[in-house]
């Protein structure tokens, strides 16, 4: 018994009870969807997609960045911004520290300038591993600054969303970030610039009700859950079970809410193509 436990701990870790974790430690991992074992190095090769059932593991912001932008092209912005605790919410600062430690990021979004197949963009990537990707003042500020930079530099903007919504611990100040980011997008838009929004699992609440759904072009990863209210809240409100696949990317596509579903392995080339098709014409 003892030996078995030891071996298990050392060589194989399941994702049970720790579903959120991106590509966990251990040589074999268990897919949270189909429960089959996956050889961990294999998972890296498949870009975090289960080879058996095509389940998409959540990616860290940096992990995703590496799959999208040209090598060594990324210049990070605003990695030093710090959250305040406006409601003096107990334990909030400690919680932030814990996530900073865990993700090595200052907040739930990574922003910066990069190129994709040589084309300049401002890119923001949310990280669901940092407090559920929730949006407080720093996330709102980083995204607003990224949008404003894109407007200033007259270049396209790409935002990958992954968020449980507005961050409760910062109360009304979080809510106002929805207004701030949407207004910044309106200015980018008024300058005739392209904004591509890429919805990844999960995108809900205040992020869905602001920049996530304001893209000129809205893409989604297969199976991504996207909605205003989370499924649990809806079930409690309407007191009935939700149909299979409700709020998933395929459902949104059917209801006319998004432009396209793009597989992870095709995301970079798809974005590059969209950027190419929106290049400003040379003024003669």
């Amino acid at each position: 018994m003892k030996l078995k436990g030891l071996i298990k701990r050392k060589y194989a870790v399941t994702t049970k009870g720790n579903k959120k974790r991106e590509v966990p430690e251990g040589i074999y991992v268990q897919c949270p969807k189909c429960k089959k074992s996956i050889y961990r190095p294999e998972l890296k090769k498949t870009l975090g997609i289960c080879p058996h059932c095509q389940y998409y593991y959540p990616l860290s912001a940096r992990g995703r960045l590496g799959m999208i932008v040209d090598k060594n092209s990324f210049e990070e912005m605003d990695s030093d911004l710090k959250s305040s605790n406006p409601l003096e919410f107990e334990g909030y600062e400690e919680k932030l520290e814990k996530y900073k430690e865990k993700t090595k990021q200052n907040e739930a979004v990574l922003t910066g300038k990069a190129t994709i197949e040589g084309q300049e963009v401002i890119i923001a990537i949310m990280d669901s591993g940092f407090m559920m990707g929730s949006m407080g003042q720093v996330v709102g500020e980083k995204i607003a600054r990224a949008i404003e930079r894109a407007t200033l530099d007259k270049i396209p903007l790409i935002i990958f969303t992954a968020s449980g919504g507005a961050r409760m611990q910062e109360g009304i100040f979080s809510l106002m970030q929805m207004a701030k980011t949407s207004a910044a997008l309106a200015k980018h838009d008024a300058n005739g610039l392209l904004y591509i929004s890429v919805l990844t699992d999960p995108t809900t609440g205040g992020v869905t009700a602001s920049f996530a759904t304001l893209g000129d072009i809205i893409l989604a990863e297969p199976g991504a859950l996207v909605g205003f209210a989370g499924p649990r809240v809806i079930e409690q409100t309407i007191k009935q079970k939700l149909p299979e696949g409700f709020q998933r990317a395929e459902f949104l596509m059917e209801k006319g809410q998004i432009d396209a579903i793009v597989k992870r392995e095709e995301m970079r080339q798809t974005l590059a193509a969209i950027l190419r098709l929106h290049q400003k014409k040379e003024v003669r």
Partner: protein
């Protein structure tokens, strides 16, 4: 606090009893003495209201709602229905009217004062088509160069299957986006509950007011407690933490003005409350009319841009 409320109730009962008697001069004197006591108690109680008490006042079924204010404030009002795509959402009333001769578009979240009305209006919880209607009417206001007045009163945007299918999140987002550049003055005011993105979607304004006992927050206190403490029963504690009162939000510069209510709340004297809203709107419409519209839109941008900037 509770003790004061009990005493106040006893005083009112005594006044009612005395009013039923022959109104001799002694009785009248006695009534006026009791009325003085009642007023003092009311003042004491209202000065000690906690955030949670205000949540209760904001939700009170007797509280005047949007339809009442529109009737009282406008010389004329023509309601305009529908989003032109799907339905007419009764949780949001819209239309064109005039206030002392000033023509405005009014868009208001609507709650009922009876159970039946509330069913009809979905308790003030709009669907996407409500927000689409609101945006349609704002664009119309922009075309005809008349200011927009939004009255906010919702527990939140509705959570349901149809709402999700028709893009609740996108509908709210689109309003935030469009309102930030609409080229007419916008005044928004919370007259009851300002719940979450559902309230924000009508609140991108040049002037934002709240009534004294209105509340405005990221989520209902029940929802907040449920998310953070997994216990919606701790709503009272949540409300007292969330900084959702008009006084708190004024302090943080989220809103511009607090409109006082009669002692004990708007429901105690609805007409006087409506008059205070009317006078406020007239004054603000006059002030906003003097500001160049490009400048006003830029100021609107900056008001939201600066929230959470001081880092």
């Amino acid at each position: 606090m509770e003790e004061m409320k009990v005493r106040l109730e006893a005083v009112y009962k005594a006044i009612n009893r005395l009013k039923k008697l022959d109104q001799t001069s002694e009785i009248k004197e006695e009534i006026s003495r009791f009325q003085d006591v009642a007023e003092k108690l009311e003042i004491q109680i209202s000065s000690q209201l906690e955030a949670w008490d205000k949540v209760q006042l904001a939700r009170m079924i007797e509280r005047p709602r949007a339809r009442f204010y529109i009737d009282k404030i406008c010389d004329e009002f023509i309601e305009l229905h529908g989003d032109r795509f799907y339905a007419d959402d009764q949780a949001i009333i819209g239309g064109v009217g005039s206030i002392e001769g000033k023509v405005v578009t009014i868009i208001a979240q609507s709650r009922g004062m009876t159970a039946k009305e509330n069913m009809q209006m979905n308790f003030g919880m709009p669907h996407p088509e409500g927000y689409h209607k609101a945006l349609r009417l704002m664009k119309q206001a922009e075309k005809f160069q008349r200011p927009v007045i939004c009255l906010i009163d919702t527990p939140g945007a509705y959570c349901g299957i149809g709402a999700e299918e028709r893009g609740q999140g996108a509908a709210i987002a689109r309003n935030l986006f469009e309102m930030s550049t609409i080229k007419v003055p916008i005044i928004s005011g919370v007259i009851g509950e300002g719940g979450s993105g559902g309230a924000l979607a009508l609140s991108i304004a040049d002037k934002i007011f709240m009534q004294e006992n209105a509340v405005y927050s990221i989520l209902s206190p029940e929802g907040f407690a449920s998310i953070l403490w997994k216990d919606s029963g701790r709503a009272k504690e949540a409300a007292n933490k969330m900084k959702l009162t008009a006084q708190d939000l004024l302090k943080y510069g989220i809103i511009d003005d607090v409109l006082l209510e009669p002692l004990g709340g708007a429901q105690k004297s609805p007409d006087a409350t409506a008059d205070s809203v009317k006078q406020y709107l007239i004054a603000q419409l006059d002030t906003l009319a003097t500001i160049n519209i490009e400048k006003l839109v830029q100021m609107r941008y900056e008001r939201f841009r600066k929230i959470g900037m001081c880092l």
